[in-house]
Symmetry: C2
Subunit: 204 residues, 2 copies
Amino acid sequence: MSETTVVADPRGETRLRIERAALDLFTSEGFDEVTTDAVADAAGISRRTFFRYFATKADAVWGDFTAHVNRLEVLLAAAGDHQPVLTSICRAYVEVNDYATDDLPMLRQRLRLIFTEPALQAHSQVRYAAVDRAVADHVARRTGASAGALVPRLVATSTRAAATTAFEVWLADGRLPLAWALHDAFDELAAGFPSLRPARPAVR
Amino acid sequence: MSETTVVADPRGETRLRIERAALDLFTSEGFDEVTTDAVADAAGISRRTFFRYFATKADAVWGDFTAHVNRLEVLLAAAGDHQPVLTSICRAYVEVNDYATDDLPMLRQRLRLIFTEPALQAHSQVRYAAVDRAVADHVARRTGASAGALVPRLVATSTRAAATTAFEVWLADGRLPLAWALHDAFDELAAGFPSLRPARPAVR
DNA sequence: ACGCTAGTGACACCGAGTGCCACCGGCAAG
DNA sequence: CTTGCCGGTGGCACTCGGTGTCACTAGCGT
């Protein structure tokens, strides 16, 4: 958050070292089996210092997520009003998750942990809440409704559900690009799940 | 879960006593400010015994949630194939949450805590995952797809998003019945969010 | 040489959760 | 009545995540 981006960036460097150590240890041993002492040792720092970089053991898995949310907010705010709301959200999601191919392995590692380990899965809800708030604000701005009303909230949570589901499928499959998975999920959602009615004209 | 419903039910009785003590203390003092020692004291038991009834401090807030999920599964399995998939899910959600008016205050208390306290919010994701699995299985059964495919997962997570959003709105408002809020959310979701396009024919 | 500051490590502390053992109640068999 | 079993319980010690405090060091300007 501070302007600590001078030259050698000694702070960001050790932060990254901790992150990698944590990711590797959690992946090989399991999140619960690794103590913060072990992570600190592997990163060459003390346990106390670990908690100066990450407020929580779980936080080491979620790189700089607040920056992620901030970028999403900027993208949503910059989206023009000429496109449908859902489209603007989808595009923002796609763009904010447009990683360089070199970063994909680490992203996979993060997501695999988050989706697999119950403790991290639990932690994720708090992170998602920040995303939902951003999207709900965007929808409220576009529709004139209150951000606490049903539709903005619902759009926020269900688009986020679409995004995380796309991530899961992308992670499990490994073939299709992430952007495609996101578009598939959003298309399905925006059209009211057309693949649920194969040839049934909804009797009643 | 067990058949512990004999006559006096001494076990279920103390369990309920713990639950009430926890709910009241958490509501008045805040979840993080109340120690398990305090809850145990208020319930007239020892800390060790508290953890024999609830695996986690947070679990005391979620009554018997596995029974809730089981009922949902039964309702989904019993739903006929004549109605659209989303309708069957909506009806199951409405029916499984059809509480007696006497139970509503306690339900509100639970939900307010769950939605408000970050620690409980985090815990909720693990509970929701069980619900999602049940719904995804139902969708997979109805559509013939794999339960791990995109559409069943997406339907599960977004319908659950609709349900929780409905709960939040119901909790905040207090006027409209829970069933109405659920129907509103599901209608919006099933129709692809019609209230997002007031008079705009989606230019491209 | 002086002080200031940022980053760090050591230590003590709290609270959630767990394993272990000892205790006490009832209850059936002898 | 005594013996032994058994489910529920309490006490205790321990691990581990997380926090507050303090002392130490390295750099850096004066």
